[in-house]
Symmetry: C2
Subunit: 125 residues, 2 copies
């Protein structure tokens, strides 16, 4: 077994960066801010859709909208450190997070985040 103290910047079992305490605070703040903004957007849209309901099909459109966004949010906002660079990459790509909100993360993580955002942008193009 590899001694973890011999490789202080890596978990012993995976090629993943470790997150310092200050990085964790920053990551949590950025994550919560993006999630809060997305929820706020869904709440605003749901209120708008509800206010315009005229018939039953509008009602079930609202239900479908909510189910779809709950599922998407659940899948997207995965706060595991092993997933976080991809999560932030996606949020950057979607414009739900600004680069300056990630300032303070180490270079290795920013590189992974930007690289994943770039991958998604190229995929979408």
């Amino acid at each position: 077994m590899i001694n973890p103290s011999a490789t202080p910047e890596r978990y012993p079992y995976q090629n993943e960066p470790i997150w310092s305490k200050s990085e964790k605070v920053l990551a949590r703040t950025a994550f919560d801010a993006a999630l809060g903004r997305e929820l706020h957007e869904v709440i605003r849209e749901a209120k708008k859709m509800a206010s315009q309901i005229k018939q039953s099909s509008d009602l079930w459109d609202l239900e479908r909208y909510l189910t779809q966004h709950r599922t998407e949010i659940d899948r997207k906002y995965d706060y595991r450190y092993s997933r976080l660079t991809q999560v932030f990459g996606r949020l950057l790509h979607e414009g739900r997070l600004q680069e300056e909100e990630l300032r303070g993360l180490r270079e290795d993580k920013l590189k992974m985040i930007f690289s994943f955002a770039k991958f998604l942008a190229e995929e979408a193009a």
Copy 2:
């Protein structure tokens, strides 16, 4: 095989009353009226819930409310003549239909409808 024309008041294969043309019109009107009222109630409640959303849990409460009522309405409003006396019995029991809306149905059907409403009332008691 039994000749249907020899048993004009019954389907040949089941102990079910047949519905005359005027009864079908009446049944459809009563059915649609009850469904319309229930949908109107759900729409009103959904609009109220949406207007009061403050946080994400309120949003998912609304989703759950809609899913639950869509499922319940789908199950309850079953317009098959083989099911209709029970459907009307339930709607009477729930106060979603008034007896006078069924006036014009033949006595055999009214008896089955009232009997099922009574059964549900006793079950609930």
